[in-house]
Amino acid sequence: MGPATREALVEIADISKHFGEGETRVDALRQVSLSVQAGEVVALLGPSGSGKTTLLNVMGCILEPDGGRMRLDGEMVYENRWLRGDLRRLRLDKIGFIFQFHNLLPFLDATDNVALVLQLAGRDRVTARSRALELLEYLEVGNRRDSMPANLSGGEAQRVAIARALANRPRIILADEPTAALDSHRAGIVMDLLRKLAAEQDACIIAVTHDEKIYARFDRIFHLRDGRLEFQEGETT
């Protein structure tokens, strides 16, 4: 698939969101529009309170915007009447989340942490575990398949978390500070891995980050300030 024909997986237009009313009103997002294509790895950058996390939450269908339009992997979100269950289903099928502190469930081993997402999507246990093991092998943590999260190193835990995010083959992966808990070497490895995944799975990766060491590894960087998209670095691929 050439750059010209690449489909837009995330398209948001004029998205706005505010919190509070009157004197306490904060406009977290003001008419933000952006588009991310399949295979792209982009970053959301900005100072604290600029609206990065709010935008990530909106794109993750965790937070409903006050206004604007949003299309995720071809589906117009919040158009007509969207119920909580519809959003949950959308998150399960189309979006993968990678957290700053991996957020693996401490009572499940590495394989089951990944298999859980598949089972929630309706796969049977055998199929789910088989796919989970395949993903762990792919991310080179197959040897830690039976380890509990507490026994994994930071890098291993983050790889398992990435495997979990990829389990249902989502085409949109949202990452919140994915390398913040890792040293620069491991951060580089994780970013390379994310880039490889985006390319191989024809998915897009949108990450909120403050980690300057990895800026160079993004295709585009969106700079936000006071809830507005100030400018972007890089060109659409």
């Binding site: 998150r91 989340f97 700053q100 929630l120 919140d176 500070e177």
Partner: protein
């Protein structure tokens, strides 16, 4: 994948420790229920022991347990001659303290006429009284063995038989002895006291006095009819077996019964609050995990299942451990602890309701959790 089970397995030690604490609480609740039952049953054992239908006592009294009663010993003959009475026997009741083997024993002495109603119906060991004097049948709770000789008044009595669970409403073990010996102990004055009474010219009370006469009726004879006939004599009062049992539970042990009942209710309320707090705290500790589950697309039923199943497991294990504990230690209580299956089942039902109610608080909190909580540090 059962998340509740996996979480419990992961934190097994902590879960078991919580269950242990809860089971101790359940054991206390079950003990109180057992003590309550024991109190009521104990109060009735002495009344039920002779297996009679009618109690004849002093006029104007509700003796011999709720009130003092003294009637002439020959009343038994009059009662025995009544139409419908199969057999009758005189009985006396008194408490006594004896020192035996270096320990003070508080006993409930029951005088009866061997071969007549008033004797215990079943023996746990030994034989019934064969001689007219100085033999006793003791309750196992008295700590006496067959062949032991204990001092009562100025004589020594030999234990020839043992009965089980025969105590008065105060929990004192019963000792059955021949009526004549019991009358001597209760009514005969010590020689110096008797001499003083004679010197004063006082009337010496007849020793042929009893506390009650018990009657066994022919089949198909209504106890109320016989009791009514006796009441018409005016100088005696009569209670049916049902009247006597009602009197004991509603009067003699009523205050103690209500006291324990109220304490039991408070204990149940405290247990409910403790269970609710434990379950709520368990849920609160998992909020971030719950937020993660919601974020990755887990439906509400998965989250509800996680909380409710753990709450029920906690309640169930706590109840089972508590029940086992009480069954193991109940015989070491100074007074009888009686646990009926219905009591344990009722408590299980209450715990089930409490667990569901408590977990609903946790579920409410969990369902309110913003999935965004999982993001960020």
């Amino acid at each position: 994948m059962n998340l509740a089970y996996r979480d419990v397995r992961h934190n097994l030690f902590r879960f078991l420790l919580t269950c242990l604490g809860l089971s101790l609480l359940m054991a206390v609740v079950l003990s109180m229920i057992g003590i309550y039952n024991g109190l009521v049953i104990d109060a009735l054992t002495i009344v039920r022991a002779p297996g009679v239908d009618v109690w004849v006592v002093e006029a104007g009294t509700q003796g011999p347990f709720a009130e003092a009663s003294r009637i002439p010993g020959d009343t038994r003959n009059s009662v025995a001659r009544l139409h419908g009475v199969a057999d009758a026997g005189s009985v006396t009741y008194q408490t006594a303290e004896v020192v035996f083997a270096g320990r003070t024993h508080r006993l409930y002495l029951v005088g009866f006429e061997p071969g007549r109603p008033g004797a215990p119906l079943a023996l746990a060991a030994g034989r019934s009284i064969g001689r007219s004097h100085h033999e006793i049948i003791a309750d196992l709770g008295a700590g006496l063995a067959l062949g032991d000789r204990i001092p009562l008044g100025r004589d020594a009595f030999e234990v020839v038989g043992l009965v089980e669970n025969q105590v008065n409403s105060g929990g004192d073990p019963a000792v059955y002895l021949p009526l004549r010996d019991a009358q001597t102990l209760q009514f005969e004055l010590a020689p110096p006291a008797a001499r003083v009474q004679i010197a004063r010219g006082a009337t010496v009370q007849s020793e042929n006095t009893v506390n009650a006469v018990v009657a066994r009726l022919d089949p198909n004879v209504a106890p109320d009819t016989v009791a009514e006939t006796i009441r018409r004599w005016k100088h005696l009062a009569a209670l049916t077996q049902a009247d006597q049992e009602h009197l004991l539970t509603s009067s003699v042990v009523d205050r103690a019964r209500r006291q324990i009942g109220l304490f039991m209710a408070i204990l149940l309320a405290v247990s409910a609050v403790v269970i609710a707090l434990i379950i709520y705290t368990m849920t609160m500790e998992k909020l971030r995990q719950i937020a993660t589950l919601k974020l990755i697309g887990a439906p509400d039923r998965t989250i509800i299942g996680l909380i409710v199943q753990q709450a029920l497991a906690l309640g169930g294990v706590g109840w089972a451990f508590g029940l086992i504990l009480v069954l193991l230690i109940k015989d070491y209580f100074p007074r009888r602890v009686v646990l009926e299956p219905i009591n344990a089942l009722a408590l299980a039902g209450i715990i089930f309701v409490v667990c569901i109610a408590a977990s609903s608080l946790g579920v409410r909190a969990a369902l309110k959790v913003d999935p965004a909580t999982a993001l960020g540090g």
